[in-house]
Symmetry: C2
Subunit: 259 residues, 2 copies
């Protein structure tokens, strides 16, 4: 949605198209499934140039094609308001079952791909959805729960905890903080860790694995992609962030998409 997911002053057409597709591919990645077909609908304001629309569609096709998925249908309408793009992604289960948010067990390790925070400085328009990683994890490690971090690490972890009816201790010092989070912190006066925990649109995977599988993954995977152990699912329902010797309650509070 123009003005919600991108700033029309900032984003180029090819970034708009890529983001619309990639954030939905990221949802498939979070279930560990291959995207195959995309349906794209657009509500288009009067006066939108054909060349802009053409660039958006080309970038959507390119983003889908990167994972062997294709645009196969959709719809268009005019919009009396902002440009709105909606993408539905369909994929075959094959031999896989989707990973849900609800299977995290006490004792499971909490792991993440990539780095967190400061996405608003640019990554939110230019990221690689973790489709390959999600499918790899599903096929070889079968996470007990998984989600893509679109609304902030802390909030999306709470979604897994809610769905799985468990607690967690998150180790603040283990969270991979993006360089952009540090840069943004210099502007905002916050700690970089706050941006890593609460900024949205990282589009990384957050998942849980038994300690044995987590060890095996950490030993095997780091040649291929970045995985970090950031905490543990708890036996009780407490939700705590361990940070500089203190234990701070986790907040499920929201991230509001705006650029």
């Amino acid at each position: 949605v123009e003005g919600v997911h991108w700033d029309p002053q900032e984003a180029r057409p090819e970034q708009i198209g890529a983001k619309a597709v990639n954030r939905n591919l990221s949802d498939m990645a979070a279930m560990g499934l291959e995207p195959r077909w995309l349906l794209v609908s657009a509500a288009i304001p009067a006066g939108t140039s054909e060349s802009v629309l053409h660039e958006i569609v080309l970038s959507m096709q390119a983003a889908a094609g990167r994972f062997n998925a294709s645009l196969v249908g959709g719809d268009t309408s005019r919009s009396p308001g902002p440009l709105v793009l909606d993408v539905a992604v369909i994929g075959p289960l094959g031999s896989c079952q989707p990973v849900t948010r609800s299977g995290a067990k006490p004792g499971d390790r909490i792991l993440v791909t990539g780095e967190f925070g400061g996405s608003a400085l640019g990554k939110h328009l230019d990221f690689t959805p973790r489709v390959r990683e999600g499918v790899f994890l599903n096929q070889h490690y079968r996470p007990s729960a998984m989600i893509d971090v679109s609304d902030g690490l802390e909030r999306d972890l709470c979604r897994i905890l809610d769905a799985s009816q468990v607690g967690a201790i998150l180790e603040g010092s283990c969270i991979p903080v993006a360089e952009a989070a540090t840069r943004l912190a210099q502007r905002t006066g916050k700690d970089a860790i706050e941006h890593a925990l609460r900024d949205g649109e990282d589009f990384e995977l957050l998942f849980t694995l038994s300690p044995e599988r987590a060890r095996s993954l950490l030993a095997a995977a780091d040649r291929f992609f970045s995985v970090t152990d950031v905490g543990e699912i708890g036996a009780d329902r407490a939700r705590l962030l361990r940070w500089e010797g203190r234990e701070i309650p986790l907040q499920g509070e929201g991230f509001d998409h705006q650029f």
Copy 2:
């Protein structure tokens, strides 16, 4: 799209939800296929009441359930502009092939379900998509081409003619004119036939059949639903409306959805 497909002053929430689903079911009907699964996305303005959203969702579920289809997923976002609802419909082919717009042959009869014109007076918010008729036609009569009339009979016929690379003669006196078209004509000063030809959102089926199959259908079907023969696909590319002794060129010109 609020302000395009419905007037927020006129439409009740349950009409908005039903229309969003039914116009998409009508697209499936046009291919002669059963809808099975619906993905619904909503961009929602701040201040939209939860009870309004609840009624919209309930009416979507009811509209889908009428044809044994279900809402199985989707997405939500906030909207800085109008309420936008997007529906993607998925269905299994089963033993059927989709009917396209491109198979009309010279000599084929042109047929329609239902009546045309004046939909803006109410039908556009409260109609039954011709899913049963479309699937019945596909299974038993295999139309050479089919479309649902959303942008006006004349314009949507031209779409079949474009796709099939043929011409047509439409018999104006045979076109079933809705009572609402006559009522609307009294207000607009136009002929009711103009409304029947050019108003949008009739959501009836327009299809072509060989003369033998058309005869067989007309003899068999009229106990179950309204079917009317309105013209013939031509051997040359001429596109004419026969009306009061004259032959008038058909216009592919557009209908602009606004309520």
